[in-house]
Symmetry: C2
């Protein structure tokens, strides 16, 4: 009965294919022992190979050695190759500043990977059962979760970690072990959140069974499985939309406001998460609240506003986009300062920019065809050496309306915050001639008395 | 604080608009009393009118009269018009075969509707709170539910039933009543599932708070609110797809297999539910299992297969469609039987069909241009009176390959089950001349010896 049920789970979720080589995580407890035995029985039918991997945590002393002995013998009886690795988990955790739960998990998966490579296997099988699933989901519901979290434990993850007995009730697993006289060890190696999980297992679920629904575990898992389908659908749609609205750079994600604003909120939330995931690799520590804050940036009143997010990410509303970006890049202010000859050129390597300068009389200047990238100044008004440099706190420029802070000018010109240090400022010893090719100072303006002109050309290379 | 929070809920979900006239369900307990007071305070700000409606269930005798008195006085003090209706709920339930919960709910909403009409109101306000919400969701999780059920209680339903204090914690409501000295009655009128709900309220949630998360109520409600967005999205997409793939008749819904098969499972499930809802008005008693059974019909191996669903619905796989149909229509076998003159016509009103008959010599017959709707028989082979009738159990026809059951012929011809009683069978006293215009008998075939021909024409009217 449970054998057929496992086979049906394997088929339904396509967990195993012919020719698979599978590393099984074998603690020695009923779950993993039952799974080992079922995979052993399926070996020929599915044309698979099975290896067992056991980690001795060195937490339980003599009992741990008995576990290892039991596993070696069991595998020998079944003709399954087994690997036993012994690591001082508590010591490792102390040294690496990890909780025992985190450390053991990390070491266990490292061992699986190691044995997977050694045996040229392609899959890892884990013995989670139906009760583990219900417990996980209940725990998440109590702590707060969303559609993604309600999926619970996955039948298959990253196309290589599989859980074939996830539909099987713990008591059926124990009965199976008894029927086949497998004599599993009492499973003490489940280190994760022992307190919480035991409370759920031994108190909460029995209470729910007695008072509300004897089949509460099945109800919860059925709910989770139906939500998996819904979650898959929204994920797939979000992925499609994400590609449509986003423009990806290495450490940034630009989202087209016009396209984005047409999406449903359910999709918007996921598009933003995908943008952050693109930069960080995951979205840990990014809460629903942060996502809602980014969503506020859609309002056109928020143009030019910025919000700070966890882990050095920030979201910046430009006119036509929301820019998600690794904040550190922005903070890396570009600074440069070069003397500029009055006839010649200089390369500003920080900006991939060449500045060409030329002095000439006014008649020649007037006869020239000038493009927007060239600016003319009354050369007689220039005092001392000319310098091109990055902006400085307090920079001001004289405009027709009066003196203006560069910072305010940038805001007027809607130059994004992170681009402002990319604007070259050209100065003499009195003050600013021009702010890039955006704006010239009134103080150096060509007028009727101008005889000699300084022409500066901005060339991107 | 709670006043502002209610206002924010009202704005967020657009519960109240200027000029609304609202009937408030007032039990006299803290929830509805608090809601009354808040709506009273919002009267001018929102330009609304409020009426209070109270149902005396006649279950608690003298206490119920005190409730009514309390309500009348409270409303008088606030200048709110109140309506008190007294109904013997237990008697009503007994007479109508309803549980007290169902009956009280039905009567309460009937009363709301009545007062809504009397006062020309457009909304009904109900005093459900945050705890009710969390309890409802937990109850559903334990009993089994899906994305739709996890939405919990709606802030607004059918655009007229509103729940403005659904975000407010019960203890804040009690504190509010105390602050304004409203002295609410102890609420005994919440008749629904008292046992289950009290267990959840008084045992389960406190246990969860103590052992897992002191903010478990907020976590559950936050989860539900985020799932509402996801659920809305899938519902909207399903509605669009449903329109694309379905062809609706009064008691039936035809689903185009080619379009349907391209949909995601999450959408398929909902499209099928919408089809059933179109026929029945709701999908009560239709489980996930039934929907999965219908989904199996997508497989082309299932062409011509039928499955029976609850409440007289059945699903039938035709070549290019899945037909959902009210089964009773199909079972209403159409029976008819008319004598057919050899020269003349007869109307089969059950089929909106006219049969024209004509006898003529073979030469004339051969000279005629015949369309597919006309059939010729050797008139000399016909014995006794001719009859047109609906099919009967055991009907057989002689074909070139031998005798064949009409039932098997229908299967061969892929005539849908529900159309089979619409096919006229023409017989003489020996047997069947033809099965509609589908197939003629070998026994009456025109051959070289034929002199006189009976021509029958089928005309749809």
């Amino acid at each position: 009965m449970i054998f057929e049920k496992v086979l049906s789970t394997i088929n339904k979720y396509n967990l195993i294919e012919n020719g698979d080589k599978i590393v099984l995580g074998l603690s020695g407890g009923p779950d993993s022992v039952c799974l080992l035995h079922i995979l052993y029985r399926l070996k020929e039918k599915l044309d698979i190979e099975v290896y067992a991997a056991h980690l001795n945590h060195q937490i339980r002393g003599i009992e741990a050695q008995k576990d290892a002995l039991y596993i070696t013998q069991l595998c020998e009886n079944l003709g399954v190759t087994s690997f036993v690795k012994s690591i001082d988990v508590p010591k490792y955790c102390k040294e690496n500043g990890l909780s025992v739960e985190e450390g053991a998990r990390k070491l266990r998966y490292e061992m699986f990977e190691e044995i997977k490579q050694k045996t040229k296997s392609n899959k890892i099988a884990i013995g989670h059962n139906l009760n583990d699933q219900a417990e996980t989901i209940l725990m998440r519901i109590m702590r707060g979760t969303g559609l993604q979290g309600l999926r619970g434990i996955e039948y298959i993850r990253d196309n290589n970690i599989i859980r074939p007995i996830l539909d099987i009730d713990r008591k059926d697993i124990e009965a199976y072990c008894e029927e086949y006289e497998l004599n599993p060890r009492i499973d003490h190696t489940n280190l994760e959140t022992i307190y919480t999980r035991n409370k759920i297992r031994l108190e909460l679920i029995p209470y729910m069974k007695d008072n509300f629904n004897p089949n509460v575990i099945e109800s919860i898992v059925r709910m989770s499985n139906s939500l998996k389908t819904d979650s898959d659908y929204i994920q797939e749609e979000s992925e499609i939309k994400f590609k449509e609205v986003s423009n990806l750079q290495e450490d940034a994600c630009e989202i087209d406001i016009q396209k984005y604003s047409k999406l449903h909120d359910a999709i918007k939330v996921r598009v933003l998460r995908k943008g952050i995931k693109h930069i960080l690799g995951d979205t840990n520590f990014v809460d629903q609240k942060h996502i809602e804050d980014i969503m506020q940036l859609e309002d056109n009143k928020k143009i030019d506003k910025m919000i700070t997010l966890p882990r050095g990410i920030f979201a910046y509303r430009r006119k036509n986009t929301i820019l998600l970006i690794n904040k550190e890049i922005v903070n890396e202010t570009i600074e440069f300062c070069y003397n500029l000859p009055s006839n010649g050129f200089i390369k500003v390597k920080e900006l991939n920019l060449v500045l060409e300068t030329q002095t000439m009389n006014i008649d020649r200047y007037k006869s020239m065809k000038l493009d927007k990238k060239s600016k003319g100044f009354d050369f007689d008004k220039v005092k001392g050496g000319i310098v091109v440099r990055s902006r400085k706190e307090g920079d001001k420029i004289k405009l027709s309306a009066g003196s203006k802070k560069i910072k305010d000018l940038f805001i007027d010109l809607k130059i994004p915050r992170e681009e402002r240090c990319n604007v070259p400022i050209i100065v003499d010893e009195q003050g600013i001639l021009c702010v890039g090719d955006y704006k010239n100072s009134e103080n150096y303006k060509i007028d009727n008395s101008t005889k000699e002109v300084l022409k500066i050309t901005f060339k991107k290379i």
